[in-house]
């Protein structure tokens, strides 16, 4: 999988207003909660804005000098200060809890919708899109959106209120002093914007070179044995020195700029502090302000500069959240599997007659893979499909199962066009064992009984015995209750195939698809399960794809495919006598 962790979202949303409206429709059901949070944040802000002015008043009382302080007044202000601060903290805690709930519930809903969407998408979607990419939308992108909901809505409100409020208070204290802040703050804001713009590409480059290094290391370590076998070690280390150097340089270039931001902001704030002190002293000299006013002014100016620098950050976050939500909505807007035809019937009491009638198909409309394919498979017959890779064998199965629909021609099942049945009932008529076995994290029992809800443990054990996988299962720590890890990592490929064969045995159907079903089972085991395979196949219409030609010699009809055409068909005997393509394939086994 490509390294996700370091991926940087470089794209701005295409239509941010549309994405915003749509994401707002998700939080709409929480609008009362959000309104409450906004009111609370307004209150908390006002309270904390009044704080410094109270402190200033208290200090003014103290400024009366030794022995002249009116403690009644001081205490009064101090009590008010405490009350204000405590309630403002409680309120902000309440806000963050409310917004957490809103954000997490929205995330949960988004994830759920995405997953349910996936189950309605056609198979072609999964063939075209990488699993890693789909997953990153549901995990990473949803997280970005939810984090933004959790913090940004309130933050943008709070920041604006704080900025406006502080400005108002500062102007009230002293318009002259406020002028200083009005000069320095825009300077610091434009500095941040400027430096962020300059360093952003550097940080993107850093992420890229980290990602590249990740890929390089992963590739080299997984090929480590080969590298050692060819004594390639030193060369590889030299190559890594280059990759490593690039990563280190990219880090230096980005971070050496990045680390200038903090001190520079500090300088701007300190400069304005110096200016306030100087000007404040003059104003004090002229009797225009009191000491207490200067001190509360300083407190306000701090309150003011914090959020104004933050607003740039928040805007950035909101933009990346919008582009993340756009990616999610793109997934949710993917065209779904076409609905079953109106009046589609349920396929039951299957006989198992299948007919390809002049079928053509291509994954890409410009490139046809199967050309005018016609053949008949009567109920209970064994049809083998052979041919070199890329001949179109697996494509036929995709059409049988209606993972894809034919471009022209039709497939008839029990005399009726496949399209006239409902998909679930058509698919239920087939059991299938594919080369790429699929197991999920669950017990052995659950994996075998997948698709056969009513199977008892005894049923499962009996098919496992037939598939010669029972002894292996019994050797697992918890037998049939052993949890198989993802991708079945702790069992071999051959054993995985045996498990899926057992699954197919348990699944009662009239038709069977075996796509290289025993390719990873070793030959002696394959021989041992031969009887069971025959039993599995008996009475069913079977479509078998196999490399090993020996396994299909008793097929009723062998279709030899080459480049999407049936070049030969017939029984093994007939094809051997013909001495054509099949004969050559067969003979090359003995060379």
């Amino acid at each position: 999988m490509p390294p996700r962790r370091f991926s940087v979202n470089e794209h701005k949303p295409k239509d941010s207003r549309k994405a915003l409206r749509r994401i707002l429709s998700y939080v709409k059901e929480f609008r009362l909660l959000i309104l409450l949070a906004l009111i609370m944040s307004l209150t908390a802000n006002v309270l904390s804005l009044i704080g410094p002015s109270l402190a200033g008043k208290a200090i003014n009382e103290a400024a009366a000098g030794a022995g002249k302080v009116n403690f009644g007044n001081v205490l009064h202000y101090v009590k008010l200060m405490l009350l204000f601060y405590v309630s403002s903290s409680m309120i902000s805690l309440g806000i963050s809890i409310i917004m957490t709930l809103v954000a997490k519930y929205t995330a949960r809903k988004l994830r759920k919708e995405c997953f349910e969407k996936l189950s309605r998408l056609p198979v072609s979607f999964f063939d075209k899109n990488q699993a890693g990419d789909i997953i990153s939308r549901v995990s990473y992108d949803v997280d970005v959106v939810s984090a933004s909901i959790q913090t940004d809505i309130v933050a943008i409100m709070t920041s604006s209120i704080t900025v406006l409020g502080s400005l108002f208070m500062m102007i009230r204290i002293s318009p002259a002093l406020a002028l200083i802040v009005l000069v320095t703050i825009p300077v610091s804001v434009s500095y941040t914007v400027y430096i962020k713009k300059k360093t952003r590409p550097l940080f993107i480059k850093r992420s890229k070179s980290y990602g590249y290094m990740n890929g390089f290391v992963e590739e080299m370590f997984s090929g480590q044995k080969t590298i050692q076998a060819y004594a390639y070690n030193d060369k590889v280390c030299q190559k890594f020195a280059k990759v490593n150097g690039q990563a280190a340089d990219a880090y230096y270039n980005a971070d050496s700029r990045g680390v200038a931001i903090g001190p520079s902001m500090g300088m701007i704030n300190n400069l304005s502090l110096g200016l306030i002190a100087t000007l404040g002293s003059f104003l004090f000299m002229g009797g225009r302000v009191s000491l207490g006013q200067i001190s509360s002014f300083i407190l306000y100016s701090r309150k003011f500069s914090g959020p104004i620098n933050e607003i740039a950050n928040i805007m950035n976050e909101i933009f990346s959240a919008l582009s993340a939500s756009e990616r999610i909505f793109n997934l949710l807007d993917e065209p779904e599997e076409v609905e079953d035809l109106e009046g589609a019937t349920v396929l039951n009491e299957v006989k198992g007659d299948v007919e390809f009638d002049d079928v053509s198909f291509g994954y890409d409309k410009k490139k046809t893979i199967l050309h005018n394919l016609s053949f008949k498979a009567d109920s209970g017959k064994l049809i083998a499909i052979v041919g070199p890779t890329g001949a179109g064998k697996t494509t036929m199965i995709n059409l049988l199962m209606r993972f894809y629909d034919c471009d022209s021609g039709m497939i008839r099942v029990d005399g009726k066009n496949e399209l006239e049945y409902t998909r679930p009932s058509l698919r239920a008529a087939y059991a299938m064992v594919l080369q790429d076995t699929w197991l999920f994290r669950g017990t052995v029992y659950e994996n075998i009984a997948y698709g056969s809800e009513n199977a008892t443990l005894d049923d499962v054990v009996s098919v496992a015995k037939k598939a010669h996988i029972h002894p292996f299962i019994m050797r697992l720590p918890n037998g049939y209750d052993t949890v198989i890890s993802e991708d079945g990592g702790n069992i071999s490929k051959g054993q995985k195939q045996l498990l899926t064969i057992a699954r197919a045995m348990l699944y009662d159907s009239k038709m069977l698809i075996l796509d290289e079903a025993t390719s990873n089972v070793d030959t002696s085991t394959e021989r041992e399960i031969q009887d069971a395979m025959l039993e599995l196949m008996s009475g069913k219409t079977c479509f078998v794809i196999a490399h090993r030609l020996s396994t299909i010699q008793n097929a009723d009809n062998i279709l030899v495919l080459d480049h999407g055409d049936v070049v030969e068909q017939g029984t093994h005997r007939q094809l051997m006598d013909k001495k054509g393509f099949y004969y050559k394939l067969y003979a090359s086994q003995y060379e």
Binding site: V86, K104, Y252, L273, L275
Partner: protein
């Protein structure tokens, strides 16, 4: 920490300089509120314009100077971290690429990769932060406390009492919150896993119409994750309000006591003002310290993971005197027995290989003996897990056998230097690797291979045609893991690589499984004709791939159950005859 320090030590003077500059900047910054207080309390009442301008000018200059010193120090720290981490990664990479098979199994590939990447980033950021941010903490904390103490001892006590209480509260909350995030992570892994299972298994899910079941499975995981996430978030949203509350209560107390002390005539109103600034500074110190310790424990864990790889002994050592070869055959296995993990569960955690080996730890190879004369050929066949690849691992000395000896060209393999030993081989492993580089580089692979040799090898391996179909032919770029080639093309490239340097010994481990029978047989014909002087070992599932070789070994559960030519085995070994008949379909 010792590990990180061993790399930073080399830059000790640069680090000292950075620390000095950063301290200077911090001290200067600390003086700003002091000057502010002095201006308001002492200078302003004198109404001396020149003095006010002088001190205001000093404040402005200090602010500017501080910025430049601080930026310089920060850049220095990045430069030092860059140099150190480059070295760490280079050392770790060199070590990893030379690990023996045993050691590789023990660490595990994914873990090794994450040590190389995310662990190295953790160490890197720690190296940088220690020099810049961390050094400020004691200054802010102790400097702030010291100055406030000299300004007004009584008022300072308010701060000194508050800081530790705050620190403890924050630490306790974080301690509770971080494990909650671990739970969220595990549950997120579940959600992602079910998702992935449904994507990879979409055909099965649809074929069996299990969409509803899967929706429920996902929804359960999703809801459970959501619940833990809310819990963790709520707990972790506590520190913010707690800190601001504590800070504001402190402020209030300072104002109250300040007023009291002004009244008593022991302090000035300006002092209260300065206190408010110092107060925030001290708080900042506490917060930085808290973050620094969290950071340190993370970096320490990472550093330990890195150094545990680096401290491993160097793979397999060359011995000066090996065993005596029993005959002058080119390759000899002499009563070799072998078990992975040295027969004991060294890893202990039952990871990787050993997990489901079947309970009893049987020997992977048991008393294996065979000889191949120079230029001879050997085929190895047997069920999965019968020990075929292990023979190859011992021959090329990725592992040493516990019993018996392996000889090549009359010498115990343990007496060869590893790369000299391996220069004898051209090898294709099961699931072998194609690297993201040109085809030419993938074939020559760092060896002196002429263009003609490379071309011949490609054509012999039946790869010439598709390679030369590319416009840029041998300069065509392979994607990571050769993802732009089909399975069959990859196998043919790998065989070309093995042939390219005209190896003395050619080893092919199940390397034609993706080829159709025709290509496979043509390929074998080419090798027979053009590499007849090479000693050959072929491991295969198909009898047809090995039946024409001089000698065939049939393995079963680590033992040789039949050895001889194809005809001899047909006669002597029923299991072999079985396989042959099944595969060839002859009755």
């Amino acid at each position: 920490m010792k590990f990180i320090w061993s790399y930073m030590r080399k830059h000790i003077w640069a680090i000292v300089l950075v620390l000095f500059m950063k301290s200077l900047a911090t001290v200067l910054e600390l003086f700003l509120p002091y000057i502010l207080e002095y201006m308001i309390d002492t200078v302003a009442p004198t109404k001396d314009v020149r003095m006010i301008l002088l001190w205001g000018g000093i404040m402005l200059s200090v602010a500017i100077i501080t910025r430049f010193i601080s930026v310089g120090a920060n850049r220095g720290s990045v430069r030092i971290a860059r140099k150190c981490i480059y070295k760490v990664r280079q050392d770790l990479f060199t070590k990893s690429i030379n690990l023996s098979g045993d050691q590789m199994d023990e660490v595990g590939l994914p873990s090794l990769i994450s040590r190389m990447t995310s662990d190295s980033y953790n160490v890197q950021s720690f190296m940088q932060i220690t020099q810049t941010i961390a050094i400020r903490a004691p200054f802010l904390l102790f400097g702030g406390i010291f100055i406030t103490l000299t300004m007004d001892t009584g008022l300072a006590l308010v701060l000194i009492i508050l800081a530790p209480i705050l620190l403890v509260a924050v630490v306790i909350i974080s301690r509770k919150g971080i494990p909650l995030y671990d739970i969220v992570q595990t549950k997120l892994d579940n959600v992602v896993r079910i998702m992935r299972e449904n994507i990879t298994g979409i055909r099965v899910v649809k074929a069996l119409s299990k969409e509803k079941y899967e929706k429920r499975r996902f929804s359960d995981a999703n809801e459970s994750m959501s619940r833990s996430e809310i819990k963790a978030s709520v707990v972790m949203s506590l520190p913010g309000p707690v800190i601001s509350l504590a800070m504001n209560i402190g402020l209030t107390l300072v104002v109250l006591f300040g007023a009291y002390r002004v009244n008593k005539g022991v302090t000035q109103p300006g002092v209260i003002l300065a206190f408010l600034s110092y107060f925030q500074m001290i708080l900042m110190g506490v917060l930085i310290l808290n973050r620094f310790f969290l950071n340190m424990s993370k970096a320490n864990a990472s550093a330990n993971r890195i150094s545990s790889v680096m401290n491993r002994p160097d793979g397999l050592e060359t011995v000066s005197e090996g065993a005596e070869a029993p005959s002058d055959d080119y390759i000899i296995f002499d009563n070799v027995s072998f078990t992975y993990n040295g027969g004991t569960d060294a890893a202990g955690d039952g990871s990787s290989v050993s997990a489901f080996a079947g309970g009893s730890r049987e020997k992977t190879l048991n008393d294996i003996s065979f000889r191949i004369p120079r230029g001879g050929s050997l085929g190895i066949i047997g069920a999965t897990g019968s020990g075929k690849t292990t023979i190859l691992n011992l021959l090329m000395r990725f592992y040493d056998p516990q019993e018996g000896h392996v000889f090549i060209d009359g010498r115990d393999v343990r007496t060869y230097e590893l790369d000299k030993l391996r220069r004898h081989f051209g090898v294709v492993f099961q699931n072998d690797a194609i690297f993201a580089d040109t085809i030419a580089e993938n074939l020559s692979f760092g060896r002196d291979v002429s263009h003609d040799d490379m071309k011949n090898a490609a054509w012999n391996a039946m790869a010439g045609e598709f390679i030369e179909d590319y416009d840029d032919q041998y300069e065509h770029e392979a994607a990571i893991h050769g993802a732009n080639f089909s399975g069959g093309q990859k196998q043919r490239l790998l065989i070309s690589r093995a042939l390219a340097a005209h190896p003395d010994i050619l080893v092919l481990d199940d390397s034609s499984s993706a080829l159709d029978y025709r290509t496979d047989s043509l390929l074998r014909k080419n090798i027979r004709q053009n590499h007849d002087d090479a000693t050959m070992i072929i491991i295969a599932q198909r009898v047809s791939s090995i039946m024409s070789l001089d000698q065939i070994i049939m393995l079963d559960e680590g033992r040789i159950i039949g050895i001889g030519t194809h005809e001899e085995l047909l006669a002597s070994t029923p299991q072999y005859r079985d396989i042959y008949e099944t595969q060839m379909g002859e009755v």
